[in-house]
């Protein structure tokens, strides 16, 4: 049975005990999927599963605490759930997880930077390519060229937590090294150039906070330090220093918690590569604490705890 | 405030007397520094103004001194947020920004010849004070005037000096109540809506004007309905978070109406035409 059929079958069986199941449906054009809230058996027909199902549906869970819901999760998305469980922000018993072994999802910005999709007519998804029909003709793009960067180094193609798995466990097939490739390019710059790089990128930030609100782990968004009036941490001005400060603040609040799902960058209407800032911090956390967020529900995030001596931190050359 | 100048540019005023009304409520009497502006400042009872502490921000308050007494503009401020906290720190001779008058006002023309029944709770007495003083200054235009005013405790009642004055007048009736028994309190005890039900004023020829905390308003409106008051016989004022005060910044709307420009004064009949988003 294909993955989609298994998913439909599972949802069909569990739906009665749940308020709804969150999955994906076809969006407003052939290139966009959109989250689907399955409330009735009739809604199940609308469910889709393909590399356009980019959304990390775990983002919805914290606001649904106290309600019994089902959710479809890719491997990467399951890490958000684990992190939310670790932090007590959701309850395992309230959620039925339909896991999906996933070979990767596309980054629509990568497609849009290659071809003008504004008048696109059709999209076909092959195993290793995306074919897009535009008025000028038919464009075939190798899937690997437009997969999300996180997918190119994915170590968790199968969800780490689930009640039902739609298919067989998929072993990791991607090399780990490429994950930090873009980060390393920036690391190699000297401090001035690094600052200049980020000022250039972040200058187009419009402080809309979509990155924050799309983040499954930004759970204090209604009381965010970016806008709090008392105390006032940040001016509301739209200068580059405020923008840089906002993004540093955001990234630091995610240190040891960010699971690299990429919703922040995907939500950014200005296509700023902000996931790289988080990835850099993830890299530091890994080097310092040997820790990776959202992998084991029993773990405690390193910044949630305190050890008198950290084995990897050499304080004052002691 | 007219539309010829910059509606975002506050006048600078100076704090005169500061009155400690209640543990968390102070009244500030403010005079605009520009004498000409002060003399030409015209407003109607029920209109509001934005007070500014430069460096902190603005907040909206009803001008609770009546337009018939223009020596100063009085505002009563309950400590609730950042701006009100700082307004409470002001002392005599401190500068303060004033942007107003803004908003609509009580329909005092249409209320002429009617009996007026004021029902106030806590800081909600502020807008009622304006209208009550205005009516007392134009006493012959109105029928019987009654004020039912309640607070949590005797010390939470505002305008204590005036309450004494109103008590002594024979052209109005004053009924005070507090939520529970207190030593030396010989007036009524009970929540405002309950006392209202006991008093059971007849709706005949009356207009009820009510203002207070949301929960009090809700039960007062129910009580008035029970007593037979029609929706157009009941007037109240609304509160909303405001920034611009002139219907531009967007946040204080209820359906098509902006509380800052179409309000804060609404009849119950008008409120019922709005989408239920209070």
């Amino acid at each position: 049975m294909a993955i989609l059929d298994k998913l439909k079958d599972g949802v069909q069986r569990e739906l009665e005990g749940l308020e709804f199941v969150i999955g994906w449906e076809q969006g407003y054009d052939p290139l966009h999927a959109s989250p689907l809230f399955i409330r009735t058996p009739g809604d199940i027909d609308r469910l889709i599963w393909n590399p356009l199902c980019v959304h990390n549906l775990a983002s919805y869970l914290p606001s649904l605490k106290g309600r019994r819901v089902g959710i479809l999760l890719k491997g990467c998305d399951s890490r958000s759930v684990i992190q939310l469980l670790q932090e007590g922000l959701i309850k395992r018993e309230e959620i039925v997880i339909f896991g999906i072994p996933c070979r990767g999802v596309v980054d629509l910005s990568k497609i849009k930077s290659r071809i003008d999709t504004s008048q696109m007519r059709a999209v076909s998804l092959m195993d290793d390519a995306v074919v897009i029909e535009i008025p000028q003709g038919r464009e075939e793009i190798p899937l690997d060229d437009v997969l999300a960067t996180k997918c190119l180094s994915c170590q968790y193609p199968t969800p780490l937590i689930y009640d039902h798995l739609a298919g067989e466990v998929l072993p990791p097939q991607r090399p780990t090294e490429v994950l930090y490739k873009e980060v390393e390019v920036i690391e190699e710059l000297d401090v001035q150039d690094r600052l200049a790089h980020w000022e250039r990128e972040l200058d187009r930030c419009i402080r809309c906070y979509a990155c924050r609100n799309a983040c499954p782990l930004c759970v204090c968004q209604d009381y965010c330090a970016a806008e709090s009036r008392n105390p006032r941490w940040l001016s509301q001005r739209a200068g580059v220093s405020e923008k840089v400060m906002w993004h540093i603040m955001h990234a630091l609040h995610l240190a040891g918690r960010c699971t690299d799902c990429g919703e922040c960058e995907r939500a950014c209407p200005m296509d700023i590569p902000i996931q790289r800032i988080r990835r850099k911090i993830n890299k530091e956390i890994k080097e310092l604490f040997g820790y990776e967020a959202g992998v084991n529900p029993e773990d405690t995030p390193p910044l949630y705890t305190f050890k008198v001596e950290e084995p990897t931190i050499q304080e004052r050359e002691w | 405030m007219d539309n010829s100048g910059n509606p975002f540019l506050p006048d600078i005023g100076t704090v005169g007397k500061v009155i400690h009304e209640a543990p968390n409520i102070k009244s500030l009497q403010v005079v605009l520094n520009d004498q000409h502006r002060m003399q030409s400042f015209r407003f109607e009872p029920g209109q509001v103004a934005q007070l500014s502490i430069f460096g902190v921000g603005e907040a909206t308050f009803v001008i609770n001194s009546p337009p018939t007494r223009m020596e100063y503009l009085q505002f009563s401020i309950m400590r609730a947020g950042e701006v009100t906290e700082r307004l409470h720190q002001l002392k005599e001779a401190d500068p303060v920004g004033v942007r107003g008058p803004l908003g609509n006002w009580f329909p005092y023309e249409e209320m002429k010849g009617k009996d007026i029944y004021f029902i106030g709770g806590g800081i909600g007495m502020a807008p009622l004070r304006t209208l009550l003083l205005f009516m007392l200054d134009n006493r012959e235009d109105y029928g019987n005037i009654t004020l039912l005013y309640g607070a949590r405790s005797p010390q939470d009642l505002c305008y204590k000096e005036e309450l004494k004055d109103w008590e002594g007048r024979d052209d109005m009736e004053l009924i005070l109540t507090v939520d529970r028994e207190f030593p030396d309190w010989d007036r009524r005890v009970g929540l405002v809506p309950n006392v209202l039900k006991e008093l059971a004023p007849s709706p005949e020829g009356k207009v009820a004007v009510t203002c207070g905390p949301p929960i009090m308003i809700r039960f007062t409106l129910q009580a008035l309905d029970g007593l037979g008051f029609k929706d157009d016989q009941v007037i109240t004022t609304l509160e909303r978070r405001m920034k611009c005060g002139i219907g531009l910044c967007g946040r204080c709307n209820i359906g098509t109406k902006y509380v800052c420009t179409d309000g804060p004064v609404f009849s119950l009949a008008q409120l019922k035409e709005l989408p239920p988003e209070l």
Binding site: A210, A238, A267, M270 | N6, F54, E58, G255
Partner: protein, 347 residues
């Protein structure tokens, strides 16, 4: 449209034109700043123009900046009595002469929503008004709608002139320029514009050919949205919304703002900043009460404002110009057209 003589602007003449105008005006035009982002930026020949695609953000920012100072203030201590202080307050209004070149009809029309509220309403906004008067809008008419375009559903047109001062129609070798206002007429005096000749006819034909399907029937939507105000429609339709507010920031007609004070030492500035009705804090009162506490009430207000309250208050004008950016940027691909369709069909 003022019927005045059409002029021709050769594509090759555009850089020189903008350079000349730059002596008198701030000149903004669409520039590709990354593979996927096109923004209005101050014209620089080296940057090149991106006139053939929709800009990522509308030109709203140039008339209604994301932040601007409203007034500045400065405290002064009394030397005689340190307990006493005074404060001086001054208006800070900047409205340099500006040209925005390469605007789309939907975005120009979006400005008419601002005009109705900020310059023609009960209260005038002197900041917007001054900038609007100092700005000339040069609009390039559309030739190819994008899949997210729906201007015709909200009363606009890919060849519409509302809000523009000059309209440019693409023809062979350049554009036919026609003035819409006196301001536009003035600009057409520049030597870059030559007599249009036969091109005028070509422009007329080109405009005839452009069409955007009118996919929404919005008659009665204002009343319908009120009728379904209290139904569970809103919870269902907003389930997928993540309340991120990107839709409001890219919108050519969203004008909500906040005001905050920004102080350094004894002086500072009262600034106005774009705000969003999609935020919890937007309506949170000091008491803790919030009349729109969840995304459901907030999204309902956003749709209500654009398609019910605004048209009711402003003679049927929707608070939406159909540019489709909110659809494009929505991380959940929530499609405002679909919401309106379902709202009409509900109940």
């Amino acid at each position: 449209m003022v019927s005045r003589e059409a002029r021709f602007l050769a594509t090759d003449n555009i850089p020189a034109l903008l350079r000349r105008l730059g002596n008198t005006y701030r000149v903004f035009a669409p520039v590709k700043v990354s593979d996927t982002i096109v923004l209005f930026q101050e014209f620089a020949e080296s940057a090149g123009l991106a006139l053939d695609e929709q800009t990522t953000l509308p030109p709203k920012e140039l008339l209604f900046p994301q932040t601007e100072g409203l007034v500045s203030y400065r405290y002064r201590k009394d030397a005689e009595d340190l307990e006493k202080s005074e404060v001086q307050v001054e208006e800070t209004l900047e409205a340099p002469p500006t040209i925005i070149f390469g605007v789309r009809p939907c975005d120009a029309r979006g400005l008419t929503v601002f005009d109705a509220v900020f310059t023609d309403g009960q209260w005038r906004d002197p900041y917007y008004k001054a900038r609007r008067e100092a700005t000339t809008i040069v609009t390039v008419l559309c030739t190819q709608p994008e899949s997210t375009c729906f201007c015709t559903s909200v009363g606009g047109s890919p060849t519409g002139i509302e809000g523009s001062d000059i309209i440019l129609t693409i023809v062979t070798g350049g554009y036919v320029a026609e003035p819409v206002t006196e301001k536009g007429e003035t600009l057409l005096q520049d030597e870059a514009f030559t007599p249009a000749g036969d091109k005028a006819g070509e422009a007329g034909e080109a405009r005839e050919k452009v069409s955007v399907e009118r996919e929404l029937e919005l008659d009665g939507i204002a009343e319908q949205l009120l009728d379904i105000f209290g139904t569970d429609f809103w919870e269902q339709v907003t389930a997928k919304c993540i309340s991120c507010a990107a839709c409001t920031y890219v919108c050519p007609t969203c004008f909500c703002f906040t005001i905050t004070d920004d102080t350094t030492g004894i002086e500072g500035s009262r600034i106005r900043t774009w705000d969003s009705c999609m935020f919890y804090l937007y309506t949170l009162e000091a008491s803790g009460h919030n009349p729109r506490p969840t995304k459901t009430e907030r999204y309902r207000n956003r749709i209500g404002h654009k398609f019910s309250y605004h048209p009711t208050s402003y003679e049927g004008m929707f608070g939406c110009s159909g540019c489709g950016r909110c659809i494009k940027v929505c991380p959940a691909s929530l499609d405002i057209r679909q919401v309106l369709r379902e709202a009409k069909a509900h109940g």
